[in-house]
Symmetry: C2
């Protein structure tokens, strides 16, 4: 079976490339870089360092833009303010131009957190070219990532100690007519264990997909750290794709999707049906998990909070632990999303009769859906429905959702 394919010898000026690289101060091992449109980096001057975190948690951002007239920094730690053209816009910080064409700004003492940011270079949104840590937020946004270590962000980073595993799994959804992808976290020790574990189903928001909680949400790090610290029970975490027309994140498989359902897909109850009919049976058949409501938890943010409400109202005996993040009884009809709230009263009574161990509602004081949560709580109070309410500073943000997961997971399965 062996064969040798002859080939003509050919001279190639390796030394020229090599000299070019080392003259430009790029790391010696750069010569082994796969060429990914990286020609520019090789011919550019000394690399810019950004972001640079100082010992006092001040952070310096830099970008080389000799021809630019204005460079701004925009980050998710900055407040939003009403914009003149309507809506809200994030405030931005100007950078200052140096004689070398490198723009710089130092943000003093940033709180420990996992941040997302970008530059606006003469009005063009530009990820930090010096920072290769990037993240995609669903179908809407990309950003550069900055981790500022400290107590408040300590759960979000991988640490030494036993680790769980994140598995990209495809399963059949007859309900949606799709083969779909989800991410399944199994806790430290799962592979070696003969035990069965309880399961948290964790839902993302509108525009997101099954990658959101493991990237923006740092779910596997939060769970590893909580479990290793004895603060949460070992559990599986199932991160689904909540868009009923989508097989998987669009980066993986646009061709596998069904006809787009648009915003209406949020309210047609199809994802909720597939969660109950397809996802849970798959997990319970294929993983070492405990069954029964006392071993199932469900939570989600925003659209996922709506889906959490819908699923648990329709299936009151299925989950003992329920978390609704950043969502209430909202009227979303202006967005083409028609939610049937008419059955809520009856549904609340049915769920109360099923006596879930925990119904947890979390919302930020500045969340634009805050009023819908007030409405929801008024209705629950009126019907004497037991719940725990957690109000945090801030708005409709991943900062809050990571905090909520960090607080919700320790309350489960105890």
């Amino acid at each position: 079976m062996k064969r040798i394919v002859a080939s003509a010898k050919r001279k190639f000026p390796l030394s020229g490339l090599a000299k070019g690289i080392s003259r430009n101060g790029v790391l010696a091992l750069a010569f082994l870089i796969p060429f990914l449109a990286s020609g520019q980096e090789i011919s550019q001057a000394a690399p810019v360092v950004s972001p640079e975190l100082a010992a006092n948690n001040s952070v310096t951002f830099r970008i080389s833009a000799p021809q630019a007239a204005e460079v701004l920094l925009t980050g998710n730690w900055m407040p939003t303010a009403p914009a003149p053209e309507g809506g809200f816009a994030q405030e931005m910080t100007p950078l200052e131009k140096g004689q070398d064409g490198i723009w710089t700004v130092t943000v003093p003492t940033m709180e420990p957190e996992l941040y997302a940011y970008a530059f606006m270079v003469d009005g063009v949104r530009t990820l930090d070219p010096a920072n290769k840590n990037i993240v995609r937020d669903g179908r809407f946004s990309t950003a550069s990532v900055l981790y500022v270590p400290g107590e408040a962000s300590d759960l979000y980073w991988a640490k030494t100690g036993p680790k769980g595993s994140v598995n990209q799994v495809w399963y059949e959804s007859p309900t949606l007519g799709l083969t779909r992808r989800m991410f399944v976290y199994t806790p430290p020790g799962y592979a070696e264990s003969n035990e069965n574990f309880p399961v948290l189903y964790l839902l993302h928001g509108g525009g997101g997909d099954e990658e959101a909680w493991s990237t923006l949400g740092a779910a596997q790090n939060i769970l590893d750290n909580l479990i290793n610290a004895g603060q949460a029970e070992p559990m599986l975490v199932v991160m689904t794709n909540g868009n009923p027309d989508q097989a998987a994140a669009f980066t993986v498989s646009p061709k596998l999707d069904t006809e787009p359902q648009g915003a209406g897909g949020m309210a047609n109850m199809l994802f909720e049906k597939s969660l109950v009919n397809d996802v849970i049976p798959y997990i319970e058949a294929n993983y070492q998990v405990k069954t029964g409501k006392e071993n199932r938890a469900l939570t989600g943010l925003s659209m996922g909070g709506l889906q959490t409400m819908n699923t648990t109202f329709e299936n009151p005996g299925m989950f003992d632990y329920i978390g609704v993040m950043s969502m209430g009884f909202a009227d979303l009809s202006r967005f083409g999303i028609e939610i049937d709230h008419s059955k809520r009263e009856q549904q609340i009574k049915a769920l109360a009769a099923a006596e879930p161990q925990l119904y947890w509602i979390a919302c930020g004081k500045d969340d634009f859906l805050y009023e819908s949560v007030v409405t929801m709580r008024e209705k629950l109070d009126e019907l004497d429905f037991d719940y725990v309410y957690r109000e945090s500073p801030g708005g409709h943000t991943w900062t809050n959702w990571r905090i909520y997961l960090s607080e919700f997971a320790p309350m489960l399965f105890k």
Copy 2:
């Protein structure tokens, strides 16, 4: 255990935000977007569509940059050419400015491929703000992703049919003193099967990490598609992190790493030792796999090609299928990488005596390491060592490595 935390009511101008959004033509469901520095998108004008693929496979790239004087497109399909300042630089294509401040260029009839590209806006490397499909190439580069469908790229995309699973797994490496992460692909049907499967160990290049083959390399799609078509045997694919000082991709865990070893880490044989002593035993203890050399394959690109050579020369009876991509007997001393080639002759004879089923060498005609492959083949020929040589057009690129994996995998375990 139930408690209710009271909170003050608070008015929030939801309608202002909502009006702002719909006036600007953003999808209705955008109001549920997590705020990830996305304020700008909301207050911007009608969204720019980029890249736009036409039926004839021409592709239009667009970016809004009203203040820019020059916008260029750089993509990994463009040739590199000697740069005036030394080294090589990728050629670039200028975009043309429209009256609306949107720059445009149409590239006629692109070949089916998975492409990486970026814009240069007045000299600043900018990912396409309209394209949320982005990729990180190790520690060196980020890019926007464009998939052009067609026969040549058909293996790189998820299709309908059974799917394998990709698992992020952490394992102990006593050899390196690290808890490390790797990606393990299990083939379609693995979970339901009682069979044992053979294993391909798949190594990335310098500057990369354990995410490279599943993102840039599309390894899981290539394997799913080959296996489903009956062209490759069902197998596991183990994608390690080849940097001996790194626990996992730097995006996950800089704090877990050991002291940086720099370029020298490529030649200190520590990764190779950990592969043999830590990785393979872990896989064979924890997965349904067949053992023995006839059930093990090893391949890698560039630095991973060097590690493949090193590992198989040092352990001649361990792998029956060996693939060396884009690497030969190179003198890398100018980069501070000292490789001991003095033992090569003896090693080649020992490997020949072990009679591997396949020793496969693949290199691009324009690869800057081409001469090192010529040198290697001359030495192998001199010693009458059996190998298969595959020469392709192009250079040191992920285009080639995806092709090589697509050709290598079908030759294994048959």
